[in-house]
Subunit: 385 residues, 2 copies
């Protein structure tokens, strides 16, 4: 423990990646819970579900049919949050000062993809071996590369990456009509995290604007680099590997930690050990080791409470359209935000105080990391692959 | 409409109170929903529940008995997130530079209260008349006043407020042992918002540190004031009253709007029309009109989908320990963050993209305000008072 007293007292911790604080109350787990219970996941899904709009060969909501894909499959979301073409919008210049100060808007265009991880309806990343997760990472890399600005500092790397990746035939991926700014790859897993279809998949929302969270992180990382001459996540990964207090697992290329500033009970961060700015910079070995890291996180999650563990995860990397300096400040990492706190049915709610005042957590990240280190065994359930 | 095109296109809106952006995708409500459904609230609660730890005369988890209270009742939370006394913690000076940069912590002390709104187990604020909500506001005022720093610019106002408020005998409220910095009053209502007991109550968490959200707002409000010579929320309330596009309801003292920058589908902001810095500055008339505003919001919420509408709400006002300038920048307001989107059972999940990238909403605040304006009738259910 960094300071054992932090295991017992209320304190705040600082998140240097976003520049914000959170409240930690380690003694608070003792309180009884009479509130909402999550349904424990049943996991009795069929390998193919004729009603699933993601299974191979099936019809989707808007009438398109999926190919009979055998690996991953990517398509443009039928209900995209942003679209490539829309009516023009220019801010009305009313001369009304207060309105232009307080009613600010800007148009956003973009492209949203859905990407399935496997044709098999009943699998999750936790059920898949690193070899089976690898094609997902390859498809992410391909999609990222095909949306990269032609003047991006990573263009050469993107070309090389594409050359070293087997083609994925079942991806309706085309370069964007207008250059976009940022690509957010994320997965919502489980009904508790707003996922409406258990078929293993993630989403990729690509926008003409820089979203808040990765934007804040880039500013903080660039600032740290300017002040200290080193990368924030380089220093942090090295420090954690040295301390071994919050490390869950590591291989040559990645370290998995419950970060010092974790908000969600079993929040995890996968950090690249060397300076990789985006997916396209991974070597073949690193792509495989990233698949291993994802496997370790998702399997341990499921083992922890012997349930299909819900979470939202997301990758932060260099923007699609970036100058040298911003791309240089980027450091590849992946966040996992899982809501469960005490068991398969009792979650942590980030509600009143958390929304109005400040995020608050009950167990310390050191306790969470120790629990996850202890869940290394084989997946608790047998996967009928 | 400010600009009708915003009803159809994806755009971002700016929240001047926190200085951040959110994504609005108005066309996205059309997507089908096959995910988690909330249980519609049943509302068949008894007026008194022998197993409720908040009902008058009952035993609480840690053995204390509640008084046979007839109005509001306040006590120190048996499972407080922060406590008045705890072990000392001083940052270890290891000379290890990186650790002190990246593993920052600070101790937090404080006091957490639970406050019941009524002795009746089956009521909610929506069931209560403004006359019945008034004692809640009076107790908030009393608790705020008893925690105010003796050198606070609002001390005189606090004395006058206390003199004009009937005493509430059933409040275990004592001045804090050490001066605290901020008092966050909030309510979590409904199982969907992590509330574990339907007995009508709120919580009051008081801390030695300034929490993130009201801290950000104070900085933004002070900045606006410096730059424009007027208060941000003064300008905003005036603008909304003039435009009438997002106004849900108003009386002499308050305006209720779905703010331009709302994240939650039916998010609402109650704004004081004159410069009131904290609860203790309200006149008797204003206290009553604040009760009316709360009644209007909660009743309309319940009417909207004919259900016991879940939400988290919270009051932002001047810190307990404040210099002249900071107190002056404060402008009393109350946020309501309700999760329901389309019906009593379909909520909006703020998950993957929202957590990793940027908050995203589906209907516009103008559409939400129009819906809430249309829900003005009597409470859809009969309340057996
Ligand atoms: O204190 P309660 O009502 O048991 O707990 C609820 O509100 C708290 C403050 O928003 C949250 O930290 C908890 O996660 C939530 O379940
Ligand atoms: O697109 P889906 O999976 O239907 O929707 C889910 O993820 C989105 C992105 O995080 C959220 O905006 C939705 O609220 C959630 O239900």
């Amino acid at each position: 423990m960094p300071d054992e007293v932090l295991d017992d007292i209320s304190h705040r911790r600082y998140n240097p990646l976003t520049g914000s604080w959170l409240l930690v109350s380690p003694h608070r787990t003792k309180r009884p819970w009479q509130g909402q219970q999550e349904a424990p996941s049943k996991n009795e899904l069929p390998e193919y579900d004729p009603k699933c709009y993601l299974c191979p060969g099936n019809k989707r909501a808007e009438g398109d049919s999926n190919p009979k894909y055998s690996g991953t499959f990517a398509f443009v979301n039928d209900y995209s949050a942003v679209r490539e073409e829309q009516q023009e919008y220019t801010l009305e210049e009313t001369g009304d000062d207060v309105a232009s100060l307080l009613l600010k808007a800007q148009p956003v265009t973009g492209k949203c993809y859905v990407l399935t991880f496997s044709p098999k309806h009943h699998l999750t990343l936790a059920d898949m071996a690193p070899e089976e997760i690898l094609p997902v990472i390859e498809t992410w890399t391909r999609i990222y590369a095909s949306h990269l600005s032609p003047s991006h500092p990573l263009c050469e790397q993107a070309k090389q990456a594409l050359a070293s990746i087997p083609t994925t035939p079942d991806a309706e991926v085309t370069p964007p009509k207008h250059q976009l700014r940022y690509m957010q790859i994320f997965e919502n897993k489980g009904a508790a995290m707003g996922c409406s279809n258990p078929h293993p998949h993630c989403q990729i929302w690509t926008t003409s604007t820089m979203p808040e969270e990765p934007g804040k992180e880039l500013v903080q990382m660039a600032k740290y680099r300017k002040e200290h001459g080193r990368h924030l996540l380089e220093d942090y990964a090295t420090l954690e590997v040295k301390k071994q207090e919050r490390v869950v697992w590591q291989n040559d290329s990645f370290v998995v930690v419950c970060p010092w500033w974790a908000v969600w009970p079993f929040e995890v961060l996968i950090i690249a050990k060397r300076h990789v700015r985006a997916l396209v910079e991974f070597t073949e070995k690193e792509r495989f080791q990233f698949a291993e890291a994802i496997q370790e996180v998702t399997r341990r999650y499921d083992n922890l409470f012997e349930t299909n563990f819900p979470y939202s995860s997301g990758i932060h990397q260099a923007p699609l359209d970036s100058n040298e300096e911003e791309a240089e400040a980027s450091w590849f990492h992946m966040h996992f935000y899982p809501p469960l706190l005490r068991s398969a049915t009792v979650r942590k709610f980030l509600v009143g105080y958390e929304l109005m005042a400040e995020p608050q957590r009950d167990i310390t990240p050191e306790q969470a990391a120790a629990r996850l280190r202890g869940c290394s065994g084989p997946l608790y359930r047998v996967t009928l692959n």
